[in-house]
Amino acid sequence: MVREFWLRFRRNRAAVFGVLTLAALSLFSLFAIAFSRYGPFELAADPFKPPSLQHPFGTDDLGRDIFVQSAYGLAITLMVGAATAVLGGLIGIIVGSVSGYFRGALANATTAIIEIFQSLPLFFLVLVIISFFGSSITNTILALGLTLWASTARIQRGQVMTVKNLTFVEMSKLVGEKEYNILIREILPNSVQPSIVNIAYTASIAIVVESGLAFLGLGDPRMMSLGFIIGNARLFFFQAWWMGLLPGILLFLTILSLNLVSDGLNEVLNPRRS
C-alpha cells in the first residue's frame, strides 16, 4: 500500500519538490539551532549590521543575529503547522465521522456545531481566545486547532455519508459486525483520504494565521516566530532591507511546499475515476 502510494505520489513533481523542501527546511532549522552560537534573543553584534560572513543575514535593530532568529522562528512555524494539523485533523475526522455515520439527535447536533464553526471568522476567533487566555504558543496552537477542524469535519461528514451506503458496509451489517467496527474498519479507511488532503491545507492556513498574529505583535513574546521577525523588519525596511529577507523566503517556501504537498495528496488519494 505504502509503496503503491509513493509510486503514484512520485509522479507529481511539484509535490515531491514540496516534500523535499519541507524536509530540507526542518533539517536546516534543527542544524542551525544546534550549531548556533547565540540564542534568538541574544545580542550578537551591533544593531543594523548588513549581511557578512559572520552574520550571513545581518543583525536587527537590537543587534540580534537574523540567521539564528530565522532558524528558531522556522522551527516554531513548522511546529504550529504540524500541531494544528494533528489536533484539528483528529477533531475534524472524529466529529465528521460521528456526524456522518449516526442519525438523529447526535448527527443533528454535530452538524450544527460544524456549521457554526465554519461560519465564524477564523482570525477574529483566534484573537478572542488569545486575548482571554494569554498569547502563549500553546494557546495559539489550541486556538487554531479548535477553530480549523470544521472544514475537515465537513468533508469527512460528506464522505462518511456516501461510503456508509455502499454495499460492502451493508454486507458487514449482514454478518453482525458491530457499529464501531463498521465505522473504524470499513468506513474510515475508505473515507478519510479527502480529509487528509484538507488537513495539509489547514496546516498552511494555521501557519499564515500564526505569522499574522506574531506580525501584529500578538504572538508568544517568549518564542521567536517568523511572523514576528517580519513584523519587526517592516519598521526598518529602508534602513535594513535584509531584516525581512530570509524569514520572508522561509515562510514563503513553507506555505508553498505545504500547498504543493496537499495538491499532490489530492491527486493520489482522490483520483477521479471515470
Binding site: 500500500m1 455502499l166 454495499t167 460492502f168 451493508e170 454486507m171 458487514s172 451489517k173 449482514l174 454478518v175 453482525g176 459486525e177 474498519r185 470499513e186 479507511p189 475508505n190
Partner: protein
Amino acid sequence: MSLLKVEDVFKLFPVRPDIFGRAKKFVHAVDGVSFSVEEGEIFGVIGESGCGKTTLARLIVGLIDYDRGSIKIKGEEVSEVKRLDVERFRRTVQMVPQDPVMAFNPRKTIKHFLTRPLLLHGGLGREEAVSRAHQLLEEVSLTPADFFLDRYPHELSVGQRQRVLIARALSLNPDLLVADEPVSYLDVSVRGQIINLLKEVHKKRRITVLLISHDLSVVYHLCSRIAVMYLGKVVEILDARDLFSKSLHPYTQALVSSFSVGFGISRGERIVLKGEVPSPIEPPSGCRFHPRCSFATDVCRKLEPKPLFSDGRLVACHLYDRL
C-alpha cells in the same frame, strides 16, 4: 414444511418528508405480498425494475424493517428474532448481493472479508477461522485457496468475486440464502459457472434459496417455483416449468414474450405491451396492470383481483374465476 413464509407484507418508503418529518406520499415498494418457500427449494422472484423484488430481499434478510404483515423463517417472526437474538438471526439467513464490485471493501483482503463473519459468530480463533475460510474457497472452486486469501478484491475477476460472495454467505451455514441478481453483472460466456456453482451448493448443502432476478432464463433454469411481481404485488406464482409455456397472467405472458426476444422461445405472436410501468407512488386503481393490459375490462379498472390459489399455484387476475 415451509421454511420461509411471507404473509401480507407491506413496505412503504416516504417520498420527501415535510419539515415535520411527515410524508404525504409513499413509494409502495412492497404492497401486500404473500408467498411461502418450502425447505430445500430454490424459489425465484422475477419482475422488472421498481417491482419491489430487491426491497423484498432486504426485508427478508433484515436490512430494513417491514411496516405490516409477517415474515417467518423456520416459524419465527423475523422482526422478533432480530430484536431478541440478532446473532442467531444472522446465522439463519444470509444474502449474496447484486454488485460484486461494490460489495467489497477495496482496502481489505479476501481473508478479512471471509474471516470476519467467522470471528464474529463461530467462537473460532484466528487460525481456525483462516482454515475455515480456506475450506470455503475450495467449496466455491477458488484454488489454490491460499493465493486467493491474500488477494485484494480488485485483483479478482467479476466471476471470482461472485464466488467469494457466495462463500461468505455460506460461511455461517445459513438455512436460507437470498441471492439478489447473482449473475446480472457477469458476461454470458462465464455466467454458467456461477449458475452451476449455485446449483451445486444447493444440492450439497440442501440449503433453501430465494433467487431474485430480472433474467427469466436464469430463474427458469435454477428454480422449482417462481413468483412474478408487478408494482409491489405478486401477480402469479407458478411452477418454473410452466414459465415459458403455461403462464396465466397477461403480465407474465408479456414478460416472457419480451424476454426471449430473438430466440423465439415462446410460441405465438410477440406481445408488445403499451405504455410504461406506472409510478409506484400512485399505483393505478383496481388491477395494477390494467393500463397496459390488452384484456382489461371495467372490472379490472375498479376492483383489485383476489388471488386464486390451487396446488401451490397462484394468479391474481380477473380473467380467471377458478384455477
